[in-house]
Symmetry: C2
Subunit: 294 residues, 2 copies
């Protein structure tokens, strides 16, 4: 099957691109560390052409569609957020066209913005594309990460979402606090379920975090369980609040690798059924759907 | 009035010492950056003599009493924690005597350990001495800090306590996350009450933290309010959980400077009356009481 689309996931630290057939099959792929923070704004078009130019030369004029932080203030061009509620048709209508040279344009998918009952905004860029590919009409899509997202859908429309700083907090705690200095290699996963259990005990996160230290000091937990304990405590805290938002809906977890394992284990421990989807597969499917709707 | 006691607060980063009269008056004081982490263990006695030696030479044999991390595993000698419930008599009975040279001994106040309903331990070193000086028989003593403590007393006995990592989390968030990079000088205290209000909204701490970023991105909050917002959110979260522990008891806040201001404002916003005590004054009074009870 001939190529039909060039898909690009361009974030702060990575540029990934795929050559996609009309049936969604991946025909070729490329990736580099040319994230938007690594390249000056005026160098972004040539950086992209350097990666996908050979595909364009070989296959003629193909649509090039991008999502992620490339559409942010620090990216190629700031594409305004689309306000929730919003589904694929509104994302498609707001695709932003940028000239890539040689008469070829690149389309940038807008991010989403939502506001809670008090008017506090929350935003996403890139995850809206994964949601579009997750194939969920009614329920909640959970996308773990540095700034993990929980998005609520009804009739295929994203009604709202919430970000949890779980990944970045884990990095800050293990890298820059007394807790991280107690951690020993290799990680002992038994700490994960202890942290998960701690997330349901009184005192809240800022109290239970300190228990990682006192458990080690008192000889009740080895240093090898500190990082898994922190991971379990943070993920358990996220699930506790995220589930209030989800309120019994169908759940789709978009994750692979360590995230799929840890979030999968956390949902299983709570007895909450969840369907797991591969992030790359849903991103590519979502991007194709948004472009097709344009 | 002649000198009656040399009081020493020896923590990880600071050594502070006072020459105290029998009526509690401070006759002289000294302080340095010779925290226990800055001095090798075998150098601790001579470091202390370097600070308080002149007082001993001038006044003859005075009791020298110390509290803080000097009694920890990384300090001069590891003084075992005393288990809660415990009051001044049990702290006095467990004072540990260490030779300081020239026939003079130094007394080290033990820390306290408590366990919650699940057996998870929590510990303090130094705060037990402030509690002893706070003059509260029944109620809760709140001691903000890097690892803030809430201690519950009944009949002058510490029944239990909980640590909140508020101070260290604030440092990690402002110093090592995307939120800190959004913060601008000078701090605008209007952000504090916004963070305090956010601590009572759905989603929990890890969600409301991210709002510091989205509020700035959406133009709803200036960068000068980011650090005060984080402070208000973290303190509000601590108060929310701490008050569950306090359950309507009398509250004493042991704090000065920025801590007294921010925690005082947070309690006032909740309509919770609190008596504020100076940390140095309660430390010195508590140390004198423990030594007198020995």
């Amino acid at each position: 099957m001939p190529p039909a689309l060039i898909a690009v996931d361009w974030g702060t630290t990575r540029l990934r691109a795929w050559l996609i057939a009309a049936d969604g099959a991946v025909l070729d792929r490329t990736a580099s560390d040319d994230g938007i923070l690594a390249v000056p704004a005026e160098g972004l078009p040539s950086t992209l052409l350097g990666r996908v130019g050979p595909w364009l030369e070989r296959n003629g004029c193909l649509p090039v569609a991008m999502a992620g932080m490339v559409g942010s203030r620090n990216g190629w061009v700031e594409v305004p957020y689309v306000e929730c509620p919003a589904g694929i048709p509104r994302l498609a209508a707001a695709l932003t066209r940028m000239p890539l040279g040689d008469g070829i344009d690149a389309l940038i998918v807008p991010g989403l913005i939502t506001r809670d009952a008090d008017g506090t905004p929350d935003v996403m860029r890139g995850e809206e594309t994964k949601i579009a590919g997750a194939g969920l009409d009614d329920g909640v899509v959970v996308m773990p990460g540095t700034h993990g997202k929980w998005a609520r859908l009804a009739g295929g429309i994203v009604e709202g979402f919430a970000t949890f700083m779980t990944g970045e907090l884990y990095a800050a705690l293990t890298g820059h606090t007394i807790l991280g200095r107690l951690a020993e290699d290799p990680d002992d996963s038994a700490g994960f379920s202890r942290g998960l259990a701690a997330s349901r005990r009184p005192g809240g996160l800022t109290h239970q975090l300190f228990a990682a230290r006192t458990l080690v000091l008192a000889g009740d937990m080895p240093g090898t369980q500190v990082r898994p304990y922190l991971s379990g405590l943070l993920i358990g805290t996220e699930l506790d609040h995220g589930r209030a938002l989800a309120a019994g809906s169908d759940l789709v977890l978009v994750a692979d690798g360590a995230f799929a394992e840890s979030y999968g284990a956390a949902f299983a421990a709570l007895g909450v059924p969840v369907r797991c989807c591969d992030p790359e597969a849903v991103f590519l499917r979502g991007l194709a759907r948004i472009v097709a709707a344009a």
